[in-house]
Structure formats: C-alpha cells, structure tokens
C-alpha cells in the first residue's frame, strides 16, 4: 500500500514539475532566511551569516536536483524529454513526419487487416472443448476420384463400432451445397413462416464436441433414431431473433416444416457448427436400419474426438485397418473405400488456407517494404541532421543517449502510424467484409477484437526496430563537427541504395504474384459458365413433406409455381432444377453404358432433375437431339438429356442420341434410359473445375424436392424477385423462397475468394511499387539538391543537359535494376508456392513476368526522370551564388 502511495505521488509529481520546483525553492529560501537570522543572533555580521547559512543547508541546486530525482520517475522523465524533443523535431519537418506516418499507417493497417482474416479462419480456436482433439473423417476412393468425401451412414456406424482410437464419433447431414450443407425448414405459428437453416445431426454430436447448452440440454444418443427425434436445439441467434431471447421457449413445441418438435435447448452465443448460418439443430431421426444397410449413398459429415494420448497418425492407422476390414466385408460398395482424417479446424479451413497463407506472406513482405521505406526517409533526414547530432555529441551527449533519442523519435512516428493504421483498418472493415463475404468459410467471424488490436500494437512496436535501428546507429556515429556530407553521407547513401534495392526486390515479388493472380481472375471470368448469367434470378423452393406427402402433390405444386411464374408480366422463360450450377452439390451414382462389357461401368454420374423449361431459362445450348418436354412422363419410357462431358467421356464423342444407359452397375439391372439430347456443359462446382458427366431427367420421371427455379425476364432484379414471391405465394402462402440470387451474383460469388485475394494482393503490390518509387525519387532528389552546385558548374562549362539527365537516371535505375533482378529470381522461386491458387496461367507465365518487368522499369523511370529533369534545370548562376 505504502509503495502504491509512493508511486502515485511520483506519478503526480510528473505533471506538476514546475509548481513543485517553485514550492521547494520558496521553502529553501525561508529556511535560509531563518538560519541566517539565527547566525545574526549569534553575532555574525549579516553577509557572513547568509554564507554560513548556505553552507549549513547545503547547495540548493544539488538539493533541488536530488529532490527531482526522488520526486518523479527518472527514466520516465528522460523518456518524456525525448518525446518532447521528438515531437519538436518532427514538427520542424512535417513533410517527413507525414510521409513516414502515412507509410507506416498503410503498412500496419494492411497487416492488421490480413491478420483479422487469418485470425478469423486459421487462428481463433473453435468453440468446443479441447478443439485440437477433434478430427473430421472423410471417405476416399481413387476409383471415384474422391479425396475428401462425405460418408455413407452404414460406414459411419461401422467406424463408430470398430475403432479403438476415438472416444466417440458423431455425424451430421450434408444435404445442400449452400452454406454449411444445412437444409431449409420453415417455422410456422409465429406470424409469417420463417425459413431457418436446419442441420440434422446424430444425438451424440454435442457431447463429441464437448459443447454445453446455454439453456436446457443437448441431445441424447437415443434421439438419433426414428421415434425419438422430435427434438430441436436453437442457436443463440435464432433464439434471440425469433423468440426474443425468451427462456421459456425451452420445453415448448414448435412446428418446423409441418413437423412438431420440442425445443430442448439453446446454445451459447459463441457456438456454431459447422458454420454460423445454422440456426437450428435437429436429430437425423433415421430408422436404425439406415445405419446398417445404407452403404451406397453418401451424405454424412463425420466428426470424432481422439482418445487421450492418441495422435492423429495413430488414429489414421487404426481407421485404415477398419476401412480395409469393411472393404473385405462389403466389396460390393466399399472397394478401395479408404478414410482420411483431418484435424477439425484444418478441415474447416481447408479451402481458404492457401490463399490466407499467401496473403500473410505477402503482407509480411509489404510490411518490410514499408519499414525499408521509412528507414530510407530517416537516413535522408539523418544526413540533414548530421550537424545537429555532431553538436550534441561534442557537447557531451553519450552515444547511447543519442541512439535512444533517435529511437524514441522512431517509436513516436510508428505509434502515430499505428493509430492511423488501426483507424484505416477499422474504416476499411465494411469493404473487407463485403469483399470477403463469399470468400471466407461460414464459420469465420472477422472481428477487430483484442488479439487483432494487440497484433497491430505488436506491429507498431516492431516497426521502429526494423526501420529505426540502422539509421539511429549510423547517424549517431557522426562525431566530428566539420563532417558534413562526405564520409558519413556516402555511407548513408550506400545504405540507402541498398535499402531501395531491397524494397524493389520485395516489390517485384509482390507485383509478379499479383499479376499472376489478376491474370488468373481474368481467365476465370472468361470461362463460359455454360449458361447466360445476365437477366435471370434463381431461388429455391422446399415443399414441406407434411403437406406434400407424395410425388404427385409435389409435382403438381412445382408445375403450378412454374405456370404462375410464366404468367407474370415480362417473364421470358422459367424453369427449375434440383441442382443449380456453381453450387457444387448433387447426387451422384454409378452408370452402365449399353453394349459395354459386363464388368465395365462408370462412376460418379451426376443427376439433375429439371422441368422442360429449364434449358431455355438458363439459355443452355442444345447440341444434338432434343430437349426434354411435357410428354416425358412416368408412363413413358425414361429418357435423359446428357451434357457434352458425358458424351465425350462415355461415348468418346460418337453420336449419342438414341444410345441407352442405366443408373447403376450392370448387375443392378436398372431400367434402361434413352438419351434424347446433348446440351453444352454447365460449370457445376466452380469456374475453375472441369464439368463432369451429368444427366438431366424430367421431374415428371424423376421428382426431387427441393427445386431451384430460374426466372429470366427483362425486369430488374428487384421486380423479378417480387414477381417470384407473388407467384410462389399464390400457390402456397406458407412456402418460403430461399437462396435467392441473380445468376450474375452466383457467378460472382463463385469467384469471391479469387477476387478477395487478387484485390488484396494487387493493392499491396501497387502500394509496394509506389513506395519503392518514392524511395528512388527521394534519394535522387536529395542527390540532385546536394550536388546542384556541381551540376550548375558542369552546365556552365557546357555539359549537355541530356548527359546530366542520363547520369541521374542511370543512378536512379541502378538499384531498381539490381533489386529487380534479385526480385525476379525470388519471384520465380516463391510464386511456385502459389501454383494451386492460379488458373489458366503457370507460375512462370512469361506474360506476367514481362508485365512485371514493364511495370518496374516504367515506375523506376518515372521516379528517376523527375529529379533528373530538375538536374538539367539547375541555374548555374544561382548554384554558384549559393556558395
């Protein structure tokens, strides 16, 4: 406590220095007077008495000085002194200060922005107990080209029974391609029917995750199965927005898509699984036989918790054994069916990881460039301050003290830069979120929280070490007064040139990478999606099975919706599909081609069910035969339209129309389906993934639910959406339209991650190049101003301006070319690492490298030409008169 009082008093003293000094001086004066009076009383003459009093009291300067030390915090005092001095020094040179602060602000802002993304996706721990012990289990199968596939329920159940490495394994349904794979359900009875994202899970999921509910309870194992599954758990968001945070909702029954379920729990605010879009968890409610028999269709995501002490590698080994056992027992379905284990967080971050790592590396390079640039600015300024430093050294300032002083100035600049940088990053947040909306996985929540701010602070502290130390050491060596611009500045110029060459080298790496990405993006944009994305919207309609129990009622509803949509004014075409392009999700299965050997069959045929109007609505080109039409009904022989890719792979381009296939293996003896037409490929998964063989069946022959409608119209998007709503609600007011998008948006979203990484990298590269140019310009401008006398004399003596111009430009281009060459070599090595992020261009794409060199040389020439022009305009008379 007493220590605290002392500290408090010392801190207070910092702010009242002047008053306290004055106070103490008065106190000492009074003391002296009293003491002198005393001596006078003892018979000293007055003058003698004052002298004696002074001796008895002790030197007042010394006392005051001691008191100051005892009173304040000496190190803080020195620092404050350095800070005050620093602020004064910066004020004297505001342009330097502003440029340095702005440069650092950009560097720190960029670093903070990228870190906020990286943290959201890669670093922030998942909100589960011991999340690093959780793994995802995928099925692999080289025959089907599966590397990370969802699992068949019976395989999942066997894994769960036979493994020795997990405390338990849980599963969840992956029925949709949008978002987390959750399906749409509709909550009724609370005003308008509310669409909710619902995920079917096994009863043990929450206990595997180690997640506790905020209210109520989690599911039990038994609730996995049919007959026990009328239970639901709400997300915090859904609980707040739909039930207004009413705790009595737990235990209440609600209707979800016509099915009555009891809300048994509410999860905490931080919880999500597997993405933040899921609003309600239901149990799968399967008949137990599904977990025994269903080994062909695959629809389960699988997550498991490692037993204590078991490593991922050991688990993988054990599961390989289990999978091999299943392969032997069920050769029919499990031939070559393996498993792949991934850390759960790694599997969540699987897709964006390479881009984020690339961006992190890029922003680190950019930060180095920023620091090099500021170091350069400081060197230029140090040359101008050499005299001041020399004077201070001559007056006895210790070298350490000077380094400290210069370093404090650096810290001052970087703190200002950091503050502005955080503000910039914060201001850019909205734009970043918009840009990253379709690029980041749904579990990522980009926030500017404490760790992000700490990171910005760390950058702020790291920056002065990077940019301040070399200039501080260098300029503090200037000890001789006469030293003005010879040895010292030559040394600092050499350092400058080196720094600029380094900056250029780093910039070239960034520019080359950015150009490669930009060219990839252009290539991607040029990919024909197989449909016309302009002037059409799409939305999904899910018919609740409670009110639409059979195929006929569903078909009637879908066809009625399509008829109503078509009747809306200005609608050109309407169709519906079970699988919209670029959403990357569909049912696949084996296929047999008529006339092949009995053991030879195709795998992974993609199934679409469409209305006959679908092709016109998408403007998918018919290549051969005919499209589906109204006559293709259940009482007619089954027919299919296939895509080009199927015609190519299954029939090697031969005439396909009239050929027959089955949806199954030869031994399955499935009914023959006649191919009636061939259409152009749609891009199914993404623009950069080749189309796979697919069939289109009429919904009259192969009904599916939900269906995604496509409406093409001359109306604008808003009017189209309104018309769509009207038409659907005319058929059934309790059915909602979900996943509403324009086809253009669909294409754009599929490019989201490419756009994000290209935009960020391109801005880093552009800024890096600009900073390098600024460095070149700064050094040359200083060079020209220092040598204006020499240049003037040379001009006066008849030197050609052109020769002087060339001389300056040569000097400027030297570090650009050297750094550029080093940078190109580094880029060749480094861009190889980003090969997976590229599309349609190799990492050594000559056009990209040529453009990089072009950009570099142009920038260098512009940066050199401005000071060079000034060199040719030096007026000899002015230059001479200056002397």
């Amino acid at each position: 406590m007493t220590r605290l009082f002392v500290l408090a008093s010392r801190v207070r003293a910092l702010f009242a220095r002047g008053r306290q000094d004055e106070d103490f001086a008065r106190e000492l004066d009074v003391h002296l007077e009293m003491l002198a009076d005393d001596y006078v009383r003892r018979g000293y003459p007055r003058a003698e008495a004052v002298r004696a009093a002074r001796i008895a009291l002790g030197g007042s300067m010394q006392l005051t000085e001691d008191r100051r030390e005892q009173r304040g915090l000496p190190w803080l005092d020195t620092t404050l002194q350095d800070l005050r001095y620093g602020v004064r020094a910066l004020r004297r040179n505001p342009v330097y200060a502003l440029v340095a602060i702005a440069t650092l602000a950009i560097g720190i802002g960029a670093g903070t922005t990228v870190f906020s993304l990286t943290r959201a996706v890669l670093l922030r721990p998942l909100p589960y107990a011991a999340p690093d012990r959780l793994v995802r289990i995928f099925e692999t199968n080289p025959l089907k080209n599966w590397a990370r596939n969802i699992a068949a329920p019976a395989n999942y159940a066997d894994w769960r029974r036979q493994n020795a490495v997990f405390t338990d394994i849980a599963a969840y349904e992956q029925f949709d391609s949008t978002g987390s794979g959750a399906s749409d359900v509709f909550l009724t009875g609370f005003g308008e029917p509310q669409p909710l994202k619902a995920l079917g899970v096994t009863g043990n999921l929450f206990s595997v995750l180690g997640a506790r509910p905020l209210l109520g309870r989690v599911f039990t194992d038994e609730e996995t199965y049919a007959g026990h599954s009328r239970v639901a758990i709400l997300s915090y968001g859904a609980w707040q927005s739909i039930f207004g945070g009413d705790p009595s909702v737990v235990g209440r029954a609600v209707a979800l898509s016509g099915r009555r379920v009891d809300v048994v729990g509410v999860m905490p605010r931080d919880f999500f699984f597997p993405g933040r879009d899921v609003q309600v968890w239901l149990t799968v409610g399967y008949d137990p036989s599904i977990f025994v028999k269903s080994r062909r269709p695959h629809w389960l995501g699988v997550v498991a918790r490692l037993k204590p002490g078991v490593t991922l590698a050991q688990a993988q080994q054990d599961m390989n054994t289990v999978a091999r056992g299943l392969e032997r027992t069920y050769p029919d379905t499990n031939t070559q069916m393996g498993v792949r284990l991934e850390n759960l967080h790694d599997s969540f971050a699987y897709a964006p990881r390479p881009a984020l790592l690339m961006l992190s590396a890029a922003v680190a390079l950019f930060f180095l460039i920023v620091c090099a640039n500021v170091a350069n600015l400081q060197l230029g300024r140090a040359a101008a301050r050499a005299r001041e430093i020399a004077v201070r050294r001559a007056l006895g300032a210790a070298r350490g003290r000077l380094v400290r002083q210069l370093f404090t100035e650096s810290l001052l600049i970087s703190s200002a830069g950091g503050a502005v940088g955080i503000a910039v990053a914060f201001a850019a947040r909205a734009a970043l979120l918009r840009l990253s909306a379709s690029a980041l996985p749904l579990f990522a929540d980009v926030q500017f929280d404490t760790p992000v701010l700490m990171f910005a602070a760390a950058l702020t502290l790291a920056a002065p070490v990077l940019f301040g130390v070399i200039p501080a050491l260098q300029s503090s060596t200037a000890d001789r007064l006469q030293e003005r611009s010879d040895a010292g500045s030559r040394e600092s110029r050499a350092t400058s040139t080196l720094l600029i060459a380094g900056e250029v080298a780093l910039s070239v790496v960034l520019v080359a990478a950015a150009i490669l990405l930009a060219r990839s993006l252009l290539r991607l944009r040029a990919v024909d999606p197989g449909f016309d994305p302009d002037g059409a919207v799409a939305f999904t309609v899910t018919l609740p099975s409670a009110r639409y129990p059979d195929a006929q009622t569903r078909l009637n509803a879908f066809e009625e919706i399509e008829r109503r949509l078509r009747a809306e004014p200005a609608v050109e075409a309407v169709g519906a599909t079970s699988t919209l392009a670029l959403r990357g999700f569909t049912w696949t299965g084996d296929a047999t081609v008529e006339g092949r050997a009995a053991t030879d069959y195709e795998r992974e045929l993609r199934h679409n069910s469409v209305t006959p109007g679908y092709f016109a609505a998408m403007r998918i080109r018919l290549i051969a035969g005919r499209l589906l039409d109204e006559r293709d009904t259940t009482d007619r022989p089954p027919v299919a339209v296939v895509n080009e890719s199927l015609a190519r792979t299954y029939f090697h381009g031969a005439d396909v129309v009239g050929r027959r296939i089955t949806y199954g293996r030869p031994q399955d003896h499935s009914p023959w389906v006649t191919i009636v037409g061939v259409v152009a490929d749609e891009q199914q998964d993404a623009l950069d993934k080749a189309a796979q063989p697919a069939v289109y069946s009429s919904i009259r022959q192969q009904l599916q639910n939900p269906m995604t409608f496509v409406v093409r119209s001359t109306l604008d998007e808003g009017a189209m959406i309104a018309a769509a709503r009207r038409a659907v609600h005319a058929v059934d007011p309790d059915v909602a339209l979900t996943a509403m998008t324009s086809l253009r948006q669909l294409v754009d979203d599929s490019l989201g991650d490419h756009r994000l990484q290209t935009a960020l990298l391109a801005s880093f590269a552009g800024l890096a190049l600009f900073l390098a140019a600024l460095g070149v310009y700064g050094v040359l401008a200083y060079f020209v101003s220092q040598r204006s006398r020499e240049l003037g004399i040379r001009l006066a003596l008849g030197a050609k301006p052109r020769a002087l111009f060339a001389m300056v430009v040569r000097q400027g281009m030297q570090p650009v070319l050297v750094g550029g060459a080093v940078g190109l070599i580094a880029a060749v090595g480094l861009t190889r690492l980003m090969a997976t992020l590229l599309f349609g261009v190799g990492p050594l794409d000559p056009v990209s490298y040529a453009s990089t060199v072009g950009a570099l040389v142009t920038t260098g020439l512009i940066a050199s030409a401005l000071p060079a022009r000034r060199a040719t305009r030096v007026d000899p008379m002015t230059a001479l008169r200056d002397e």
Binding site: F5, V30, G58, D66, R67, Q70
Partner: protein, 113 residues
Amino acid sequence: MGDAKSEVLQGTLDLMVLQTLEAMGPQHGYGLARRIEQVSEDALQLNQGTIYAALLRLQQRRWIAASWGTSDNNRRAKFYAITKAGRRQLAAEAENWTRIAGVISRLLRLSER
C-alpha cells in the same frame, strides 16, 4: 537515486522527524532541523538540507502532511504535521527501535566480558 545512502541512517532520521512532529506538533523544515540538532546536543551534525529528503520521503508515504502557514516571526513557511498513519508507523518503529537497541546493547555488553 537518493536511496543509495545508508538505510539505517535514513530510517533514523525519518524516525526522529516523526517523533519530533509527534512531540511538538506541526513544524517547518528549519524548526525540525534545529530541534533535532538541539536534542542530539549537536552530536548529530546534520547537513540541514537532508531533512528535506526525509520530509519528502515521509510525505510520499503519507505519514506526514504539509501545508503553508505563518511562522513565529511572521514568515510564510511550509509546516509539516504527522498523520494518523504516521503515528501508527511511529509506534511500530519506536518499538522496533527499542527492541533492536536493547538487543544490540546486550550484544555489546556480552562481548565486553
């Protein structure tokens, strides 16, 4: 910093200041210095300025409080007074001091034999 001087001496001076303030009521720096010199019968030759280091130290610990007042011969001077915490400290220190003094004098007597 000033703390480099002998801890005992500092402590002694602090104790003397506290005791003097306790015994005589509020005093200014000069009065304190004089009083301590007198009591010690000039055995303790103070550099009078050092009293101010002790006063500041005691103030920082909130054992004494200072305020400006008027001296006997009508001079504006800073007066120091002992606080409640100061009295507590004084009591504790005095006891401590007596104990240590007792121990040391016994020790000295023992070694004389």
